[in-house]
Amino acid sequence: MRIPILKLHNYLLISIQIDLDDQSAIQFQEDLLNKIHKSGATGVVIDLTSVDIIDSFIAKVLGDVVTMSDLMGAKVVLTGIQPAVAMTLIELGIHMQDVQTALDLEQGLIKLRQELEG
């Protein structure tokens, strides 16, 4: 299953609304990096409002895609992580410390604008 990636000005917006299996997660990683490359986007928001489980594999893929995008020059903000998902991640031992987050899509875009435009 492919996850749609929308372009809005300099930003890419993604809302993950499926139960992510490993293959879809890896496909998404590749699609996002290609889209950053093609569009020249400088900021990315990945909204996780509809995601009700993040296990260690998905967390690794998400963490990696943030680092990879950063290498290419695009900042990524994860938004909308549910309370249950946040609790589960910490109990799993996954802290995702280098990852920027925001409460929702709106806050995520504000955060990106602040970071990119100083």
Binding site: D19, D21, D22, Q23, D52, I53, I54, D55, S56, F57, A59, K60, Q82, P83, A84, V85, M87, T88, E91, L92, G93, I94
Partner: protein, 133 residues
């Protein structure tokens, strides 16, 4: 005796199938959303370990309904290579597959009881229970 529901883990997509069935069972039993997420995540980790290290195996679900408490028991069984050093795999950050090494110690923290039996060359059986609070 009632047949225990079970998911065969044969391909990567079965990991999603197992955690979805587990979440459904948890919901039926009356677990709250946070515990549902804990249970689904634990199943995901166990099923992925089967897929990654043993190739194939099974995840069983058993409803525990005692007078004084209810719970969900998850049993993950495979006939893979087994685990050579149990203390090592229970350490945070230890991984032989390039993962985060959060799997088994994480499952132990997410669930209320956790038991692992593994014979090198024979396979692995992991049993974990979450009680409804």
């Amino acid at each position: 005796m009632e047949l225990k529901p079970c998911v065969n883990i044969r391909q990567e997509w079965d990991i999603v199938g197992a955690r979805q069935l587990g979440r459904e069972k948890a919901k039926e039993l009356g677990f709250g959303t946070v515990d549902q997420a804990r249970i689904a995540t634990a199943i995901s980790e166990l099923a992925r370990n089967i897929y990654l290290y043993a190739g194939t195996g099974k995840v069983y679900f058993e409803t525990i309904d005692h007078l004084d408490k209810k719970g969900l028991k998850i049993v993950a069984v495979d006939e893979g290579p087994g685990i050579r050093d149990l203390s090592q795999v229970m350490q945070d950050g230890y991984s032989t597959s390039g993962g985060l090494g959060a799997g088994l110690p994480g499952v132990k923290r997410l669930m209320d009881t956790f038991e692992i039996n593994s014979e090198w060359g024979e396979g692995t059986e992991i049993t974990a229970v979450k009680w409804v609070r």
